[in-house]
C-alpha cells in the first residue's frame, strides 16, 4: 500500500513524526521545550502513555539525550526531538550514543542561528548534522524530509536504520516542514519489527553480564573500534543512500536541494517560470549522510552547472563540490535569516548566474 491509498488525515509535520515514531515501536521519548518543535513533544506526551510507552519531560536537552542513552541501553526503541540550539546541547550525548553503538532517533526541526537566532525555518544545521556534530570520529545517518508525509515516513524508517547500524539517526527537518499541515496516511507503515538486542542491559538471569561503554583506553582497541565504525559507515554508503530526481534528463542546469528548499525547487522544475532560459532538473538528496555523491557526480558531464539551493550561507554546497570534484561548475543560491525561497526567486537566480559574464567566459 502506498501513502496515497490509505486513510488520509490532516497532520502537521511535527505530529506526523510523532505518530510515525509510535507506529515504529518507539517506547520512550524524552524532550525539552523549544520552538518550533513543541507540537511533537506535546503529541508524544499525549499519545505515548496511552500506547504502551513512556514520556518524560526532561530537565534539559542533556538529560533528555542521556535518558535515551539509558532507554536504548535497556533495549527500547527511543526518540527525542528538538530544534537547533537544543540539538547543539544534545551533541555530547549523541557522541556517546555513537561511541557505545546505541540506536536512537533524534529529530531536529531546524530554526535559524547562530545563537538564539530566530524561530523561522532554516537549514543552518547541515554541518552539525552531517559531520558527526559532537566530539570524536563518528557519523550520524541523516534523513531530510521535504513534506509532512515524508517527515512521518522517514521518522519510521529512522528506527530501522538506527537498529540496523546500532547508530544514532537524525531526521533533519525545519520549522516549515514541522509546522505546516498536509493530508497524510499511516496505513502503509508495516507493524514495527525491532530486531533482537542480545547486547541490551535487561538484567536477564542466566547469561553472562552485558556491558555498554565507550571507554577504550588501549589505542589498539580504540583503533579497532574506529575501523568497526568505518566498516558500518561504508555499508551504509553502499546500501542506504537515498535521493530523488525530477525534471528532464537533458537538463542544462541541475538544482541540488533538500527539505523545504527542495520542495520549492520542485515547483521550478514542474512549472518553469516564464523567461527561464534553461531546462532545469532537481536532484534531491534524502540521506544527507551518507550523501549521494556518486549518483550526483553522474550528472556533472551532462549539465552546464549545478546550483545548490540552501536556506543557509552555503553548507551542503561543500558536499556537492566534493562529489563532482571539479567536474562541472557548482554555484550557490542562498536564503538567509530564516527567509524561505520562492520559485520566481530561484528562477531569477539561475538566469542571472548562468547569463553572467563569468558564464560567457566559461563557454
Amino acid at each position: 500500500m502506498s501513502a496515497k491509498e490509505g486513510k488520509q488525515v490532516l497532520y502537521s509535520g511535527n505530529e506526523a513524526a510523532g505518530e510515525a515514531a509510535i507506529r515504529a515501536g518507539c517506547r520512550f521519548y524524552a524532550g525539552y521545550p523549544i520552538t518550533p518543535q513543541n507540537r511533537l513533544t506535546a503529541y508524544m506526551a499525549d499519545q505515548l502513555p496511552l500506547r504502551g510507552g513512556v514520556f518524560v519531560q526532561a530537565e534539559s536537552e542533556l538529560a533528555a539525550i542521556n535518558m535515551l542513552y539509558g532507554a536504548s541501553a535497556a533495549g527500547a526503541r527511543c526518540m527525542t526531538s528538538s530544534s537547533s540550539p537544543g540539538i547543539s546541547l544534545k551533541q555530547e550525548g549523541i557522541s556517546y550514543l555513537a561511541g557505545s553503538e546505541l540506536p536512537a532517533v533524534i529529530i531536529n526541526v531546524q530554526r535559524c542561528g547562530p545563537g538564539l537566532g530566530n524561530i523561522a525555518p532554516s537549514q543552518g544545521d547541515y554541518y552539525q548534522a552531517t559531520r558527526g556534530g559532537g566530539h570524536g570520529d563518528y557519523r550520524c545517518i541523516v534523513l531530510a524530509p521535504a513534506g509532512v508525509q515524508e517527515f512521518g515516513d522517514l521518522t519510521y524508517d529512522a528506527f530501522d536504520l538506527a537498529d540496523r547500524y546500532r547508530n544514532p539517526v537524525m531526521v533533519l527537518s525545519d520549522g516549515m516542514i514541522g509546522q505546516m499541515m498536509e493530508p497524510v496516511s499511516f496505513d502503509h507503515l508495516p507493524p514495527a519489527s525491532p530486531p533482537p538486542r542480545p547486547w541490551a542491559l535487561t538484567g536477564e538471569p542466566g547469561r553472562d553480564r552485558n556491558l555498554i561503554k565507550s571507554l577504550r583506553l588501549d589505542a589498539a582497541d580504540m583503533e579497532g573500534f574506529h575501523r568497526k565504525l568505518l566498516a558500518k559507515y561504508a555499508e551504509a554508503q553502499e546500501k542506504d543512500v537515498r535521493f530523488e530526481t525530477s525534471g528532464p534528463q537533458d537538463a542544462e542546469v541541475l538544482l541540488v536541494a533538500y527539505g523545504t528548499s527542495a520542495r520549492i525547487c520542485g515547483q521550478v522544475v514542474e512549472k518553469p517560470p516564464p523567461g527561464l532560459p534553461f531546462r532545469v532538473a532537481l536532484f534531491r538528496p534524502i540521506t544527507l549522510w551518507p550523501f549521494p555523491g556518486r549518483q550526483l557526480a553522474e550528472w556533472a558531464g551532462r549539465v552546464r552547472g549545478m546550483v545548490a539551493v540552501e536556506m543557509n550561507a552555503g553548507q551542503m554546497v561543500d558536499d556537492v563540490r566534493l562529489s563532482v570534484a571539479g567536474g562541472c561548475r557548482v554555484e550557490l543560491l542562498s536564503w538567509l535569516g530564516g527567509r524561505v525561497p520562492e520559485a520566481a526567486g530561484i528562477a531569477e537566480g539561475i538566469a542571472s548566474l548562468f547569463a553572467s559574464p563569468r558564464e560567457a567566459r566559461a563557454q
Partner: protein
C-alpha cells in the same frame, strides 16, 4: 591447637570473596574507599539475591571501571549524566534494580541538574554517592564538596570560601524536595561504619524493590593520594574533620518513625 581444630577452621572461612565480585585486583590506590564500597555493594547484591537483576550506571571518574569488579549488567554514562541514564533504564525496566555509582564532581557539580531532577521526579532508583571531597582521576582538583581550607590542585592555597564557596551538602539539599524516600550519609572510615554503610545500602535497594522511591546513600570516602595522607590518617581525617562538615546519619527515611543514625 589440635589437628581437629585446624580442619574446622579451614572448612568454615570467616571471610570470602562475594559471588558478585570478579576475582581481579582493582586499580584503586592504597587506602581508597572505592574498593571497600565495591565489596559492600557486592555483598548486598549477594545477600538480596539480586545480582542478575541489577543494572549499574558507572560514572566518569576513578570508579568508571567499576564494571571490571562487580559482576552485573553495567553501562557507562557521560560525566554527570548517570541519573538521566538511570531514568531511561528504570522507566523501561521497572522490575529491575537500577543504581548509579557517582563521585562528588559527577553528582554535585557537572551533574547537579540531573541529580536534583531525578530526585525531584522520585525516580525509583538508588544513587551511591562517593564523597571524597576531591577530583581523583584528574589529579586532585577542587570538588564541590572540598572542605574550606583544603588544598587541591586548583586551590593550592586552600579553598577560599569567599571566592570558591562552601562545600555543598547534597543530602541536605535533596531533603528540601518532596519526593526522595531515603537520604543517608555514611562512611567507610572504620569497620563499624562500613557495617552501617552496608545496612544503609541494603535498605536503599530494598526500598527500590518495594517501590518506595528515590534513595541516595552518600559515603564519605578517603582519598589518601590527593589528601596527601596515609590511609590511616585519611580515615582519622574523616572522623575528625570531614564528618564535622558532612554529619553522618539518616537525613530522610519516609518509612521510619524516628530518625536513627544507622
Amino acid at each position: 591447637m589440635s589437628t581437629e581444630q585446624e580442619t574446622e577452621l579451614t572448612a568454615k572461612p570467616l571471610y570470602r570473596r562475594p559471588a558478585a565480585m570478579h576475582e581481579v585486583t582493582t586499580h584503586y590506590c592504597a587506602g581508597c574507599g572505592h574498593g571497600t564500597m565495591h565489596r559492600v555493594l557486592a555483598e548486598v547484591l549477594d545477600e538480596l539475591g539480586i545480582r542478575e537483576r541489577t543494572i549499574g550506571v558507572a560514572p566518569v571518574g576513578c570508579a568508571v571501571l567499576a564494571y571490571n569488579y562487580v559482576d552485573i549488567d553495567w553501562t557507562e554514562a557521560a560525566h554527570g549524566r548517570p541519573p538521566a541514564v538511570a531514568t531511561g533504564l528504570k522507566r523501561m525496566l521497572p522490575d529491575r534494580i537500577v543504581f548509579t555509582y557517582q563521585g562528588d564532581g559527577d553528582l554535585a557539580s557537572i551533574g547537579m541538574a540531573e541529580t536534583i531532577h531525578a530526585a525531584n521526579r522520585g525516580e525509583n532508583i538508588t544513587i551511591i554517592f562517593i564523597n571524597n571531597a576531591v577530583y581523583g582521576m584528574t589529579q586532585g582538583q577542587m570538588a564541590p564538596t572540598t572542605l574550606v581550607g583544603q588544598r587541591t590542585a586548583t586551590t593550592p592555597r586552600g579553598r577560599d570560601a569567599a571566592t570558591e564557596g562552601h562545600p555543598i551538602r547534597m543530602c541536605e539539599l535533596l531533603n528540601q524536595l518532596h519526593a526522595p524516600a531515603f537520604l543517608v550519609r555514611t562512611t567507610v572510615s572504620s569497620p563499624k561504619h562500613v557495617r552501617q554503610a552496608k545496612r544503609a545500602l541494603k535498605k536503599a535497594f530494598q526500598y527500590q524493590m518495594e517501590g518506595v522511591g528515590f534513595s541516595l546513600v552518600e559515603v564519605l570516602s578517603p582519598c589518601p593520594t590527593y589528601w596527601r595522607m596515609t590511609p590511616v590518617e585519611s580515615c582519622r581525617h574523616i572522623d575528625e574533620a570531614v564528618s564535622k562538615v558532612f554529619p553522618l546519619g539518616v537525613i530522610r527515611d519516609v518509612k521510619a518513625d524516628d530518625r536513627e543514625t544507622d
